[in-house]
Symmetry: C2
């Protein structure tokens, strides 16, 4: 099968490398014939082109790998490819989270495939297994450590006692974090991945946006990590959604675990993502959530599924569900200079210097309260205290 790749960055180069260097009965059936790059990158190499029409109009190209990133021109180029009868596989979580229904519909109309395994969990075969579980089960929970960069930062701060800025710099030097780290540390990357996972799990559409609760790790300090440690906790940045009776919760927030809980054992830049189904129970995956070869591996798996006609789950994304984070009641810890009694007069609070324990509060109210405090110039931090017990925690 002949393939064109849109973009020659890290992941695009990884796809090219796997197809040319891995020597299996499957990878040997694939051939990269064209790589789309910006005009200034065209250097005379036979595969490189800046002329997208030459790819779209080439009847020998069956499939296009989109690894440009960002919304436009990726969105338009994916639609153009599908309308020209090319299947598309992509690692671009931002564009998938916003246009999953449109892409899926146009792919079906043109009798081609649109797959996006690598957009969530990097090399982890997450989407395919979520979809396979749904062949049999109702799924009511999606949970996980969806972002390797923020996990690396928290893990390093915990292990070495280093400060946030130092570890962020290290992550940038290692290529884990972008120059502008906002997507990783403010939860936007997790938001895209949790939207995509939730869309599939509950057959609905969750649009990314400010209405979704997300609190990242930008404000975390060396002292916070130490304080949590002293109380027997390790902090992880979790994304979770739950479905119950046509209502779902959706939240991205720092979450505290005991060292004996499995999430606490997820180190470095690994991801840990999972689901809960009505017959399979709780099922989670631990693996490389990013990186050239793991992400490219997942793209090539999608390519092979197109080639082998192993059809993925057919989703309409048309369940009408209501977002409701007010039904989710948890214990939280908040670090702030503000007097929390003023903001939460009706809740049971326990103050310990700048740290406040807040008992049994709904997720929406605590997030909105801390966001309100942030507007005063304070740089508060919040973390959910995970109250459940190990594997069978929901």
């Amino acid at each position: 099968m002949n393939i064109a790749i849109l973009g020659k960055g890290t992941v695009g180069s990884g796809v090219d490398q796997i197809i040319s260097e891995q020597n299996t009965a499957f990878t040997n059936q694939l051939k990269v014939v064209s790589i789309f790059v910006r005009p200034e990158k065209v250097d005379g190499s036979p595969k490189l082109t800046a002329d997208y029409a030459s790819i779209l109009n080439n009847p020998d190209i069956d499939l296009i790998v989109e690894v440009l990133g960002g919304i436009e021109p990726a969105h338009t180029m994916i639609i153009d490819a599908l309308k020209h009868g090319k299947s598309v596989v992509t690692a671009n979580k931002a564009v998938v989270a916003r246009h999953i229904q449109e892409f899926t519909k146009i792919a079906a109309e043109n009798q081609v495939k649109f797959y996006f395994e690598s957009s969530v969990g990097g090399g982890i075969p997450w989407i395919i297994n979520l979809e396979r579980a749904l062949r049999i089960d109702k799924i009511d929970s999606i949970h996980g450590i969806f972002n390797g960069t923020s996990n690396f930062i928290l893990d390093q701060m915990t292990k070495t006692g280093a400060k946030f800025d130092e570890v962020l710099k290290e992550a940038q030097d290692l290529g884990y974090a972008e120059a502008d780290p906002s997507a990783d540390i403010d939860g936007y990357d997790i938001e895209n991945k949790l939207c995509i996972s939730t869309d599939i799990a509950y057959d609905t559409i969750v649009e990314p946006g400010d209405h979704l609760l997300k609190f990242g790790i930008r404000n975390i300090t060396h002292n916070d990590i130490q304080y949590f440690k002293e109380h027997g906790w390790i902090v992880k940045l979790l994304g979770r959604s739950f479905l119950k009776n046509n209502r779902y919760t959706f939240v991205i927030e720092p979450t505290l675990y005991s060292p004996g809980q499995i999430e606490a054992g997820v180190h470095n830049n690994y991801n840990y993502v999972g689901l809960r189904g009505d017959t399979i129970g709780k099922l989670s995956f631990n693996g490389q959530g990013a990186g050239m070869l793991p992400t490219a591996h997942a793209l090539v798996q999608d390519i092979l599924d197109v080639y082998l006609k192993n059809d993925h789950l057919d989703r309409k994304f048309n369940q009408k569900l209501e977002l409701n984070n007010e039904t989710k009641i948890m214990d939280y810890i908040v670090r702030t200079k503000a007097d929390l009694n003023h903001y939460l007069p009706d809740y049971e609070l326990k103050q310990d210097g700048e740290y406040w324990f807040v008992k049994q509060i709904n997720t929406k109210l605590i997030h909105e309260t801390v966001q309100q405090i942030a507007l005063t110039g304070d740089k508060p931090f919040l973390a959910c205290i995970n109250g459940g017990a190990e594997n069978d925690r929901s």
Copy 2:
């Protein structure tokens, strides 16, 4: 698709329940038309029969689910089914570990399928993902907590301080352990599962038997658990195989982890199984390793793959590899009344009462030494000290 189930135990009933009660576009295509039971169990229910020929000769039955367990008559009945043009799916690890190549060959000759997802890892989609990874990668490591019963026993002993016999009794009362617990506590169940996984991973055949190193948890005491705890360790029963240059190691043994390592976070009767591939990296799965509905879920996944013609990986199991556990050098702790200096004069030993630290010894030698000591009437215990670091430990 019409299905017959051989056996009406827990898992067979689970398959029947999922097919009749789960209401998806996929499960609705399946119908259980016949259940084979022993003559004394035939009670007039229309599906029950003790006449296997009536199933084999029924052209409307496309697929047979084998959940009898044990080697015979399961082995003969699977072959009969395949030769009658029926696909077979099975949860029977003992028969798969011994006859995987024969079943696979006969299935191919008769243009039907032989799948066995549920034989390893219960509800975890382990085999399918191992096979998918192999479409692209070379795999050089299989590792995991493959037995939920022994994990439950170790976890309960660690949490509650209870004695082995008390927790074994509890496991039996909960239905986790058989009346004869040997398969679970002496490593035979893990042996079958690690043989099957290794066969697929390295495209070879590893026959279960005494030549494979396995040391279970039969001899573990309350004091052992306490001693490990005092040294900052949690004990898990691990199965592992590694491939390097046509040689592989294969060992089942108690292994010590720090509380911050992910294996230490695997609680209750959960399994945690994984692989390492050359582009995907380390990938592990955590889920329900046994139980009626999770195991039945995995069987129904196989059934759906047959129905949807999603072909699994085609393996010949014909790589000639050499078993060699002498190349694997690790630190161990051994608890024995014997004088280990006598047995291992050439090794660096540190004695602490009945506990001995043995530095850098090969796996084969330490296992054989401890087995030799066991013959003297002592009930020694051994555990590998896991020296690696978290996720990227091999």
